[in-house]
């Protein structure tokens, strides 16, 4: 199998002289093509920091990140923009949809920015909106749809350009349990049928149970890993066990 993401010896230090704080401490990580991975850990563990570095939105203090064979630490601003647009798809906790664009326009935005032919755009749109069950709301504005629909729109936008890696930071964070299940079902479906590689940060053991692999981090270092085996129920139970030993902030875990 191809490796999509390789992170070696990642460190991220915040603060300045005398008041340094290492949010990430020598993290090594590898993700293969077609994996559906969750990152879990207590609050302040460094999950968002890690995801932001992989997203190229933030930069590591030291260490390298390779995505799809390209070393992103060596890229300049312009190359990074290009890279983000072509190789990565994002799903954010607060959706990040543009309220001046319709659902359809939001979804096809990455393609228009890459100047894809408009007939191809329509074809791709058809595919992903079908897959995510948002065909009926394409002409609506974000103001007019529910949170779950918004997040599925964001997911559609994230996958429409066939990115090498889809990154999601607490995608279910702002959704109720019904919408969460819907979205996770969609992601699982994407992963299965499209062989999309998905990396998702979550607090929620239920959300994590949809994944094939879970990486636990604590205080900026890798704590342990879990691979899915058996049913989702069994996996869910295992996750809860690990979280118990992990300690820390478990308040929002079921």
């Amino acid at each position: 199998m191809d490796t999509v993401l390789t992170a070696t010896n990642l460190r991220k230090v915040y603060g300045s002289r005398g008041n340094l704080y290492a949010a990430l401490n020598s993290i090594d990580l590898e993700i293969e093509k077609g994996e559906f991975t969750a990152i879990m850990g207590p609050s302040g563990a460094g999950k968002t920091t890690l995801l932001n570095i992989i997203s190229t939105i933030d930069f590591p203090t030291s260490g390298t990140v390779m995505v799809d064979g390209q070393n992103i630490s060596k890229m300049n601003e312009n190359e990074l923009s290009d890279f983000r647009r072509k190789k990565l798809g994002f799903i954010f906790q607060d959706f990040n949809l543009l309220d001046t664009l319709t659902v359809k326009e939001n979804i096809i935005l990455p393609l228009t920015l890459s100047s894809v032919k408009h007939t191809d755009i329509e074809r791709k749109l058809n595919e992903v909106s079908e897959m995510l069950g948002i065909k009926d709301i394409l002409q609506k504005y974000p103001m007019e749809i529910s949170g779950g629909q918004k997040q599925r729109t964001a997911a559609a936008r994230a996958v429409i350009n066939n990115p090498a890696l889809i990154l999601a930071d607490e995608p279910t964070g702002a959704l109720d349990s019904r919408s969460s299940a819907d979205l996770l079902g969609c992601l699982e479906n994407l992963n299965k049928t499209n062989n999309s590689t998905i990396l998702m940060v979550t607090h929620d053991a239920f959300a994590a149970s949809y994944c094939k692999r879970i990486i636990f981090i604590k205080d900026g270092v890798l704590f342990t890993e879990l691979y899915r085996s058996g049913t989702r129920k069994e996996f869910f139970q295992k996750i809860l066990d690990v979280l118990k030993t992990l300690g820390g902030d478990n308040s929002d875990i079921i």
């Binding site: 601003e77 923009s81 647009r85 309220d99 319709t102 326009e105 920015l113 100047s115």
Partner: protein
């Protein structure tokens, strides 16, 4: 006192958005101070006989400034209050009483006002000498102006703007006091829905504006008052509908072409602009109308100023002319001219024949209306006219022959306001003897001073000889100086030796008084125009920056999904281009049509001064554009996630 401190801190925190407003207020106060200080100033009074005129015009200008400042302050004030509703709501939540918030906002306004007035007067005092010198220069005076602090002007400015700011502060207090807590939070959570555009209204707006251009040139000349009202109504309401409907309509159409719309950043740019135009259409239309007004006013006075000399020469073509008084007198005049260090570039005795005449096709002869009421013409031979034309009206030479065709010189002729009589019959009479001639053409020039002639008629040399017995021939001595605009002393000296009942024809004094009048006018209109321009530019500026502060998330989203900085800048500058260019272009177009009427009325070409005015205006707008784009980009890029 605590509230006062909080108010002070607020100003400092909000200074960025208040800064441009503050600057334009300082500028307005500075201009107001300049107007009143000139009104009260000594130099103006020293120019005897002129002072009242300056007084009145500066007084009028300062009143326009007061009205405009009042509107500007009111607009900005309600804008800032609305913008800060949420902040006030937060104070309310923290338990600050509404009355206290109102008072805090009141103090803020008062403090702003005090600072602006101090700044305005400070720079006013500093620059008043420069501005007064500018005015003197425009009026054609070379007077050394000394630096004077006018106490009356300072007091006047203080009085007027204290009242304005105090009322504004009360208004702010009132707005806050009236709000309900829930309203304070609603301010910014406006639901953005795609604006609708009625195609019928869109087309109507264009038709209205186009019709106003037509009525300006047709109806106006039939009935000026009704024409003006209809034109203004159509143009102004058409402009408002144009911005609120037509612009939206246009952009929605541009969305239809998927091939173009889905290309690169086009989609984001178009939709952003669509919402921006929708939210700003009234402001943009107001700015277009204001720009048109300012441009017309400046263009008008500048054109007039530019045409003072031809205007002055329209009644008196020569530096010096008088009824021939013999060679000895001429010698004395030439001596005076030489003594004053000048030379003549034209020095001739011109003869004319005054003859009773009529043009049956029209009611009154032009010279009858503007002259001494007699139906007479002054005939001049073609060869003499051409000698004058060669020096005074280059390119106006005529070639007549035969005994019927003549050319009339009518300085008041206008193709729109006066009766037309081209190609009509001119009847000359001498007792019982009659002669019919045909008016071949009409020239809007005056070859001989109106003091000495009736309606000038150019005839062929042969016809001239034949007409000698039709009336009395007169000789006019005419001089043109090499420095005609420095003829003051020469004219005074010649007056001294001229017999009392003999007129002296000259354009210098008329030129000077026109220059004085229009110097004041252009000074006022230029300053008022600049104030308008800066105020409108400022309004666009702070509205856009407020939107940048509200919309930065959109740009962060774009950045996150891989839009490069360069593309972001392109999107921003593209939007701003439209926001600035459309009101400017509409304003320029309106003003062009308004000024075109002027061109027709005055019968002169004003292309050069008008282009210069338009260019200057555009340049300042471009400056505002760059300023806004750079601030906008800075705000947007300063946010990371």
């Amino acid at each position: 006192m605590i509230l006062f401190n909080l108010a002070f801190k607020n100003i400092r925190r909000n200074f960025y958005s208040y800064f441009m407003y503050f600057l334009s207020m300082v500028f307005s106060i500075l201009i107001y101070y300049t107007f009143v200080s000139i009104k009260y100033s000594q130099y103006a009074l020293e120019l005897a006989g002129l002072s009242t005129k300056i007084d009145a015009s500066m007084g009028g200008a300062s009143i326009v400034m007061i009205i405009f400042s009042a509107i500007f302050i009111w607009y900005s004030n309600s804008f800032f209050t609305k913008k800060r509703k949420k902040e006030f709501g937060l104070y309310s939540m923290m338990g600050v009483k509404r009355r206290q918030i109102g008072r805090m906002f009141f103090y803020e306004n008062v403090l702003m006002g005090v600072l602006a007035v101090i700044g305005g007067i400070f720079f006013g005092v500093l620059l008043s000498k420069l501005f007064t010198m500018m005015l003197m220069k425009l009026m054609g005076y070379n007077i050394a102006v000394s630096f004077v602090i006018s106490k009356e002007a300072i007091f006047d400015t203080l009085k007027v703007f204290s009242v304005l700011f105090f009322v504004a502060a009360l208004q702010g207090y009132y707005i806050i006091y009236r709000y309900k807590l829930i309203d304070l939070f609603k301010a910014e959570s406006k639901a953005e829905k795609e604006p609708k555009a009625n195609p019928f209204l869109a087309v109507l707006s264009v038709i209205m504006v186009a019709t106003s251009y037509v009525t300006a040139h047709t109806l106006f000349f039939m009935s000026p008052i009704i024409g003006m009202l209809v034109t203004l109504f159509l143009a102004i309401s058409g402009t408002y509908v144009f911005f609120s409907v037509f612009m939206v309509f246009l952009m929605k159409i541009s969305k239809k072409n998927k091939k173009r719309y889905y290309k690169s950043t086009k989609m984001i740019a178009t939709t952003n602009l669509l919402f921006r135009i929708k939210n700003n259409s009234r402001t943009l239309a107001t700015i277009a109308v204001l720009s048109a007004t300012a441009l017309t006013a400046i263009g008008f006075s500048y054109s007039y100023y530019y045409n003072i000399l031809p205007q002055a020469k329209l009644t008196n073509p020569f530096s010096v002319s008088y009824k021939y008084q013999g060679e000895e007198f001429n010698r004395q005049v030439k001596e005076i001219i030489e003594k004053n260090g000048q030379k003549t570039v034209f020095d001739k005795k011109i003869s004319i024949i005054n003859i009773d005449a009529d043009i049956p096709a029209i009611k009154n002869l032009p010279s009858e209306i503007y002259g001494d009421g007699q139906k007479r013409v002054s005939v001049i031979s073609q060869s003499q006219f051409n000698q004058i034309a060669e020096k005074i009206f280059p390119g106006e030479q005529v070639y007549l022959d035969g005994y019927t065709n003549v050319i009339v010189c009518d300085n008041s002729y206008s193709t729109v306001f006066t009766e037309k009589y081209e190609k009509e019959i001119l009847e000359l009479t001498n007792g019982d003897e009659k002669k019919e001639l045909r008016i071949y053409a009409i020239k809007i020039i005056q070859p001989i001073s109106t003091f000495f002639s009736y309606l000038p008629v150019i005839v062929s040399d042969d016809l001239y000889r034949e007409l000698r017995h039709f009336g009395d021939e007169q000789n006019i001595q005419c001089y043109e100086l090499n420095k005609p605009l420095e003829a003051g002393n020469i004219i005074d000296d010649i007056r001294k030796i001229l017999p009392e009942n003999v007129y002296l024809g000259q354009y210098y004094n008329y030129y000077v008084s026109l220059k004085e009048a229009f110097g004041v006018m252009i000074f006022i209109s230029a300053f008022l125009g600049i104030v308008f321009l800066i105020a409108t530019g400022t309004i666009i500026y702070f509205k856009q920056l407020t939107e940048a502060n509200e919309d930065w998330r959109r740009y962060v989203i774009l950045k996150n999904i891989g839009v490069s900085k360069k593309q972001l800048k392109k999107i921003i500058s593209g939007q701003m281009k439209t926001i600035f260019a459309v009101p400017l272009i509409v304003g320029l177009t309106h003003a062009s049509f308004a000024l075109a009427i002027l061109v027709r009325v005055l019968g002169v070409t004003l292309i050069k001064p008008i282009i210069m005015t338009f260019t200057a205006y555009t340049l300042i707008y471009v400056l505002f554009y760059f300023l806004t784009v750079s601030s906008y980009t800075k705000i947007v890029l300063s946010h990371r996630n």
